[in-house]
Amino acid sequence: MKLQEYTSSRHNFEECMKCTVCTAYCPVMQVNPLYPGPKQAGPDGERLRLKDPYFFNYALKYCMNCKRCEVACPSGVRIADLIQSARIRYDHTKPKLRDQILASTDLMGSLARPFAPIVNGVTGLKLTRGVLDATLKIDHRRTFPRYSGRSFEAWLRRREKEQSAFTEQVAYFHGCYVNYNYPKLGKDLVKVLNALGVGVKLLDHEKCCGIALITNGMSKKATSQAIHNVEALRKAVSAGLKVLTSSSTCALTLRDEYPELLGVDNADVRDSVMLATRYIFERLEKGATLRFKPDYHRKVAYHTPCHLERMGWGVFSEKLLRSIPGLEFTSLDSACCGIAGTYGFKKENYEASQAIGEPLFEQIRSVDPEVVACDCETCKWQIEMSTGYTVENPISLLADALADE
C-alpha cells in the first residue's frame, strides 16, 4: 500500500468530521443532561483518552449502546463501539451486585426456571418489587419477564429425532429469553422452519451471548463466553449449518460485538450467523413457499429494534410481514423504546428510559394495532409494560398465520 493511500483508526474515529449529526439522533442526550453525547464520548473523547486514560469520563456509562449514532453518522464512525470499548479499557470499577445479577441472564434463568411459578409470583408482588428497589436499586415500577417452567432446550431435545428427519438443517442460537422465559418463540420458529422443510438443531451448549455482561462492565466474563460460543458456532458452521437467532441483539452481539468490542475473532463464522427473518426471507426469495390461513387478518405495527436498525436487517422482517396475506402492516417511526436491555431496569435510568420511549409509545397508541411486531425481547417487555399492547416477534406472527397442516 502506498503512503497515505488510505487512512485508518480505531473504530474509524478519525473519519469524524465533527458535524454533530450523531447528537441529533442520540436518545439519551435528549433526556439525560448528565450524558455528554456520542460525539464527545466517542471520537472527541478518544483523542483525549489516547493522550492520557485520565481523560476517560465515567458518564460514558449512560450510553445505552443503542448504536443509533452509528446509523446516523455520515462518515461511518463506529461511535458506540468507541464508547463501549473505552468503557472496557478504562472503567475498572467493580460492577454493583445489582448489575451483576441483571447481567447474569443465563445464571438467573437456570436458577429461577425450576421454581417458575413461585418466582413469577414473587417478582410480581408489590412487596418484592419494593424490596428490590430499596436493596438493589432495581426500579419498583418495572415489571419482570416471567420465567417458564420448562426450558426450550429440554423441549427441543425431546424432538431431536423428529427434527433430524428433515433433509435440511439449521442450528438455532435461542438465547436466554427463549430458553428460560418464552420458549413459545422458539417453538414458533421450529414450526415455521419445519414448514419450509428445515429441521432445527441446538448448538453444542450455547451460553448467553454476553451483551448484558458487556454493558454492565463484565467484559472478562463476556469474553470467555464469547470464546465458548464462537467455538460452538464453528462446530455447527463446519458441519455446514447456518446458525439462526430470533433475537436481533443476540445476532448483533455474535456477529459484531465479539470482534469489535471483545476482540474475539469470528471471521470464519460471522456470515453464517443470521437473524431467522433474513434466512426465511432468502428461502422464500429462492422459491420456497409457505401456506397461509385463508381468512387471516391482523393489524400489525412493526417496530425495528435499535440493534436491528444497526445491522440494517429490519428490511427482512418488514418484507416478510408484508408478505403475509391479510396482515395490515404499519411501520412505526424509527425510535428507541428506551429499555436497552438491562439499562431501563436500573432505578437511576427508569425516568430516562420511559422518557426516551414515550414518542414510540405515543405512536403505537395512535396507530392502535392488534399487535406490535418486534424482533427484540427487551423491547417487548418495555412496550408491553408501557403501553399495554401485546408485542410478538415477527416469527411468531408468521407461525400464527401459517395454515394448519
Partner: protein, 379 residues
C-alpha cells in the same frame, strides 16, 4: 432483494429521485451511509428561482413549503444574498431596508447564533437593532453537565415551549417592527414557525444558525417519510461497498450490512455526494469514485486541486464524475447503460443543471424522467 431502481445516497438528490420514481409506481430502494448534507442546508436552493412544476408538487405533497420572490435574504453573518427558491423558514425581502427597528432574540449560553455580526450588518443598512437575551426556565435545563446548548437541544424544547416564547417576546417587544429569531423551530412539528409568525405582532424573520440546520433536518425527515409512505425502502446506515458490472450494465451491488445478500435492480442511481459524503474520495495520488471506479474530472497534479486562498473558489469542489448526455457515468470512456449520476457527485461537470441544492433537484428529476422513459428492463 430486487427493485426497479436502487439509489445510492439518501440526501436531497436521492430522496427527490426516489419519491418521483416511487410515485410513478417503480419500486425503489435508497441505500444511505448515514444522515446527509441536508443537515447543513441553508434553506435556499442554490441556482433555482421558481420551482419547476414537478418539484413544487413533490415538496407540497411532502408537506414542505417553498417560496420565491425577487429580492434578498439575510445570512447569519449579517450579509445579504440574492434570493433563491427557499423553504418557508427563509424570509425574502423585496424592499431595502427591510425593517426600521429590529428586536434580535437569542438565548444566554447559546453560541450557535451570531447576533453581534447580524446586528453590525443590519446597522450598516441604517436599521436600529436591539438584542434581547431571552431565558426560559425550560431552557436552563439544557445547560448543566455538558455545558452545551446547541440548536438541536433548543429546537426540541421549543417544539413544545414555543408558545411561552411567543408570550415572552410580546412582553419585551417595544416599538420594533421586526423580530429576528434563530432558525431553531419546527424540528418535528413543521407548523411551529408559522404559529410563531402569527403570534407575534411584528414581521418575524428567522435567520440561520451554525449547522446542523433545523429546517434542513426537518426537510430530510419529511422527504424520507414521504418516500416511505409511498412504499419506498430506505436502508439507513448502510453503505454500498462494490458493484457487479458486466458489459456496461450494473447487475447488483454489495452493501456492508447485507454482505452476500446482493441488491439487484434494473436501474441504479449514483447520488452519493461529493467528498464530505465520500461520493468522491481522495488520497495523495488521485481523486476517485469508490463504488464503480468511474471516470472523474479532476486535476492530475495535486497542487492544482487547491487555491491557496481560502476565500477563492476551490478547484477540488468542481471535481465530479464524467457523464454522457443522458447522465450515464463512464468507465474508461464507456458509459454504464443503466447507471445514472445525480447531485453533487457531478461536481461542476454539468453547469447547465445548476449548483448545490439546485443541481441536486434538477439532476434528480432528469434522472427519474430518464428512468421512467426507458424500458423497464434493458437487461
Amino acid at each position: 432483494m430486487r427493485f426497479d431502481t436502487l439509489i445510492i445516497g439518501g440526501g436531497l438528490t436521492g430522496l427527490v429521485a426516489g419519491i418521483s420514481l416511487q410515485k410513478a409506481g417503480r419500486s425503489t430502494a435508497i441505500v444511505s451511509t448515514g444522515q446527509n448534507t441536508l443537515h447543513f442546508f441553508s434553506g435556499s436552493f442554490a441556482s433555482l428561482k421558481e420551482a419547476p412544476q414537478p418539484m413544487a408538487e413533490l415538496f407540497a405533497e411532502a408537506g414542505i413549503g417553498l417560496h420565491y420572490s425577487p429580492g434578498v435574504r439575510l445570512m447569519p453573518m449579517g450579509t445579504f444574498r440574492e434570493a433563491e427558491l427557499s423553504l418557508d423558514d427563509v424570509s425574502i425581502f423585496s424592499t431595502s431596508p427591510f425593517a426600521r427597528r429590529v428586536l434580535v432574540i437569542s438565548f444566554p449560553g447559546y453560541h450557535e447564533f451570531f447576533h453581534p455580526f447580524l446586528v453590525e450588518g443590519l446597522e450598516k443598512q441604517g436599521i436600529y437593532c436591539r438584542v434581547h437575551m431571552l431565558d426560559l426556565p425550560e431552557l436552563s435545563r439544557l445547560k448543566p453537565a455538558t455545558g452545551e446548548m446547541r440548536s438541536l437541544q433548543l429546537a426540541r424544547t421549543l417544539d413544545t415551549a414555543w408558545n411561552k416564547l411567543v408570550q415572552e417576546i410580546r412582553l419585551v417587544l417595544k416599538d420594533e417592527d421586526t423580530v429576528i429569531l434563530p432558525q431553531v423551530f419546527g424540528l418535528n412539528d413543521p407548523s411551529v414557525p408559522g404559529r410563531i409568525r402569527q403570534g407575534i405582532p411584528a414581521q418575524v424573520v428567522f435567520v440561520g444558525t451554525f449547522p446542523p440546520s433545523i429546517p434542513g433536518i426537518r426537510t430530510q425527515i419529511l422527504l424520507k417519510r414521504r418516500f416511505e409512505v409511498l412504499g419506498g425502502t430506505y436502508l439507513m446506515g448502510d453503505q454500498v461497498m462494490e458493484a457487479h458490472v458486466h458489459d456496461g450494465v450494473v447487475h447488483s451491488v454489495v452493501t456492508r450490512n447485507l454482505d452476500n445478500h446482493y441488491l439487484e435492480a434494473d436501474h441504479f442511481v449514483l447520488a452519493s455526494g461529493s467528498f464530505f459524503s465520500k461520493g468522491l474520495m481522495s488520497n495523495p495520488m488521485r481523486v476517485y469514485e469508490p463504488v464503480f471506479g468511474l471516470d472523474v474530472a479532476a486535476a492530475e497534479d495535486r497542487n492544482d486541486w487547491y487555491n491557496p486562498e481560502f476565500a477563492a473558489d476551490q478547484p477540488y469542489m468542481g471535481f465530479g464524475v464524467l457523464t454522457d448526455s443522458s447522465l450515464h457515468p463512464m468507465v474508461d470512456g464507456r458509459p454504464l447503460k443503466n447507471l445514472f449520476a445525480a447531485g453533487s457527485v457531478l461536481g461542476a461537470t454539468r453547469p447547465e443543471l445548476g449548483t448545490g441544492a439546485g443541481l441536486a433537484v434538477n439532476s434528480a428529476f432528469a434522472v427519474a424522467d430518464a428512468i421512467l422513459q426507458s424500458d423497464t428492463s434493458i437487461r
